[in-house]
């Protein structure tokens, strides 16, 4: 679909005026957008540009939307709803003869497969409907080795690939990663998966309502299957769930732990749904010949479009949406539609809205301070200081078996389904250790290797031009604001105290670790 330039211009440039919170100042807003859309802090030059000319912000944000790092951000956002980046599946690295050191890489590759597909749709500016209609997926080297995939392009990292096992073209609806995360068994018969499709892609939680048979005797004497077919109390949800579940039997595994079963699509089992569930495949009453037809029906549904808007709005607003957001979401939806269902256009609309830009909020739901999620803390700190907190190659803020993802406020996709929005004890502890590591690393680079923003500062003291310049630049980049006089006085006192104790390198490490834990550093 081609969007008339005039329509596009109108949607992008003239959002409906919204009353609401006082917006952040331009540097802080740029910082928020840079973190959200690129995962890193804005450069000093970018900050200076918007300080001098706040109108430059929109142009810079436009560039962020074209930044390839947006892919990682989409992966992170969608994990918060799809919950596929979990720390274990019923098949493991050893099932494929991989090395134990590949464990986390294996788990992430599997869990990210559907997320990467969706992220590619966003980054390549394809219509969001491609997410459920693509005849391709994304795969990295590991997945290309272990799954029936043929690579379609060259390059490294996540690449376009096509399934070779006769699965229909239905994007994430035929992704191994999604169905490994949401397995089924010989009793559930894909009903949980059907519910997941509704929850993840249509934002309709079919499990939210009560499970209660109108006639318990139907349930007891005929069993659950009879009640599902006959009881009005069950039919309310199951009239939707059963036909959708019936369409998913190409992913029906004889043994939900057998990697031989889980790896491949099973086209021969497609008709089993009608046999085992007693209902032909359909999506909200519309018969579907195969999963490709389900994908097309999902893509054409209004719920899919609305859910995309809700998903990305919540990702950027950093809070759940509610009834009070209906008008804003409706407006965004119109802009999304006008933009040809391109998510980048939607992101542009969200980022230009008052809700996203909120700086001071006296009333309403908007958040003026949004905690950095663990993966965002990691990427921002790494880019600023070079410190990446890994152990045996595992990113410790991105994993929970040995790492600190949920303890630092993140989502594990199993027990923690929403990011933490306020500081907590383990958040403070994890942040402290990250800041200590990063501060020490930056100071070591500067003082021992002559690299980075602390290079050449040996002998410099507070008040010296070199000291003050380094301090100002780091704080400016980190916080998006200049330090107050109280901040500076406190910094000087801290530096001098630690310098006396442990020397100037340690004093700088202490300063950096303090700045990294400042509220202006850990929120956006």
């Amino acid at each position: 679909m081609v969007i008339a330039p005039l329509v596009w211009w109108a949607c992008a440039q003239e959002p409906t005026p919204e009353p609401g919170p006082t917006p952040l100042d331009a540097p802080r807003l740029l910082r928020r957008a840079s973190l959200d859309l690129r995962g890193v802090l804005p450069s000093t030059e970018e900050l200076e540009q918007v300080r001098a000319d706040p109108a430059a912000l929109d142009g810079l944000v436009e560039g962020y939307l074209d930044d390839p790092r947006l892919e990682e951000r989409v992966v992170a956002w969608l994990h918060e709803r799809w919950h596929t980046r979990v720390d274990g599946f019923s098949a493991a690295w050893y099932d494929y003869g991989l090395d134990a050191r590949d464990e986390v890489e294996f788990e992430r590759a599997v869990g990210e497969e559907p997320l990467r597909l969706a992220a590619a749709v966003v980054v390549e500016d394809l219509p969001w409907t491609e997410v459920v209609q693509a005849d391709w997926t994304q795969a990295n080297t590991l997945l290309l080795e272990i799954w029936p995939l043929e690579v379609l392009d060259t390059g490294e990292g996540w690449r376009r690939a096509r399934w070779t096992d006769a699965r229909p073209a239905a994007g994430v609806l035929v992704s191994n990663g999604l169905w490994w995360r949401y397995p089924t068994d010989l009793f559930n018969l894909n009903r949980g998966r059907a519910s997941a499709v509704s929850r993840l892609l249509l934002c309709q939680d079919l499990l939210a309502g009560p499970v209660r048979a109108s006639d318990p005797l139907t349930l007891l004497e005929g069993g659950a299957e009879a009640a599902i077919r006959e009881d009005p109390g069950c039919q309310g949800c199951h009239s939707v769930i059963e036909p959708l579940a019936s369409a998913l039997f190409g992913f029906h595994w004889v043994d939900e732990y057998a990697v031989e079963e889980m790896t491949r699509y099973h086209p021969e089992r497609e008709p089993l749904g009608a046999l085992l569930l007693g209902v032909e495949p359909a999506f909200y009453g519309e018969p579907t010949a195969d999963l490709a037809a389900v994908g097309a029906a999902v893509a054409a549904s209004e719920g899919f479009e609305a859910c995309a808007v809700q998903t990305f709005a919540e990702a950027l607003w950093r809070r759940p949406t509610g009834t009070s957001d209906a008008d804003t979401l409706h407006t965004l939806r119109g802009q999304f539609r006008a933009g040809g269902l391109r998510v980048r256009a939607l992101l542009r609309s969200i980022v230009s809205g008052a809700e996203y830009r909120a700086g001071v909020v006296q009333e309403g739901e908007a958040l003026s301070r949004r905690l950095l999620s663990p993966e965002l803390l990691q990427s921002a700190v790494e880019e600023l200081t070079g410190f990446v907190w890994t152990a045996q190659g595992v990113e410790l803020l991105d994993e929970d078996e040995r790492g600190f993802r949920t303890l630092a406020g993140g989502v594990d996709g199993e027990e923690v389904l929403r990011p933490q929005s306020e500081p907590g004890l383990t958040w403070a502890l994890a942040l402290r250790r990250l800041a200590e590591g990063a501060g020490e690393h930056l100071a070591r680079r500067g003082f021992e290797q002559g690299e980075g923003p602390l290079a050449g500062l040996g002998g410099a003291r507070p008040g010296d031009a070199a000291f003050d310049a380094a301090q100002e630049e780091l704080i400016w980049r980190l916080w998006g604001r200049a330090p107050s006089a109280e901040d500076l006085a406190e910094d000087q006192a801290l530096w001098e105290e630690v310098q006396v104790l442990d020397g100037e390198q340690a004093a700088w490490a202490a300063l950096v670790s303090l700045w990294l834990r400042d509220l202006d550093a850990v929120t956006r």
């Binding site: 249509l202 004889v254 031989e260 086209p267 909200y284 010949a289 029906a297 209004e302």
Partner: protein
């Protein structure tokens, strides 16, 4: 959207696509069915033999059991016997029958067994067989479920296929139902009766999936019936399932 018909569902509207055109022709269906039949059906006796042969190459320490693979004898990463065979995964095999009344069952299989010269057997699923009697009283029932493969053997044992088949024989008649992943033409039948027709033809519904993912079905009456796809009748087909019947009714049983 070429067809502007919308249905309002629960919170969503659906655009109806135009009805698809048929992809199968009777001759193509018959040829595909012939190819599936000639490739053979997965059978539990072959799997039993492959499995027990593979385990016989083990030693006291690896896999540590005569008929099962299970931790702790087999570690998650597998173990290698003195003869160079590697065993990884889990299995539970039971055999309680006699030569006259065989009864064996692989309750669950999730393993990879590799011989010194290459991969021998990869499995995820189950199989079983039990039977007895002779002549007109002969009977058996059997099933093969899941994914079973061993390279180099050819036919249905080529890796990458899936199966969910149940069959039984009583006297001179057999029933077969389930699904089989032929590489080009997956097959599904909710129930085929073999041996009842004088001409050797089968009764029951046979469905085949085209490489494009479209299912067509023929409800056979003594081997012949009308081919249907997406509600359209496409002509008569005749499918010779004689080799299938031969395999099921053969001396060893399926």
């Amino acid at each position: 959207m070429s067809q502007a018909l919308w249905l309002l569902g629960a919170g969503c509207a659906i655009a109806l696509e135009p009805a698809p055109t048929p992809t199968w022709a009777p001759g193509a269906f018959e040829a595909a069915a012939r190819a599936v039949v000639e490739r053979g059906l997965p059978d539990p006796w072959t799997l039993r033999a492959l499995y027990l042969d593979a385990l016989s190459a083990g030693d006291a320490a690896c896999p540590g059991s005569d008929d099962d693979l299970a931790p702790p004898e087999v570690s998650l990463s597998g173990c290698t016997s003195s003869s160079g065979w590697t065993y990884a995964g889990v299995s539970t095999f039971e055999e309680t029958g006699t030569p006259e009344e065989p009864d064996f069952r692989m309750l669950n299989a999730d393993f990879s067994i590799t011989g010194p010269s290459g991969e021998a057997l990869r499995a995820g699923g189950s199989f079983g067989f039990r039977g007895g009697g002779q002549g007109t009283t002969r009977w058996w029932e059997a099933e093969v479920m899941g994914s079973w493969g061993t390279p180099g053997v050819g036919g249905w044992l080529d890796p990458g296929g899936g199966v969910m088949l149940y069959a039984r024989l009583t006297g001179d008649q057999a029933q077969l139902d389930g699904a089989l992943d032929h590489p080009d033409t997956p097959l599904y039948t909710p129930g085929l009766e073999l041996g009842a027709c004088a001409n050797g033809g089968a009764d029951g519904e046979l469905r085949l999936r085209s490489p494009g993912g479209v299912w067509a079905s023929a409800t056979l009456d003594c081997g012949c019936g009308f081919l249907e796809e997406v509600g359209q009748e496409l002509g008569e087909v005749c499918v010779d399932l004689g080799p299938l019947w031969g395999a099921l009714a053969g001396e060893g049983g399926w």
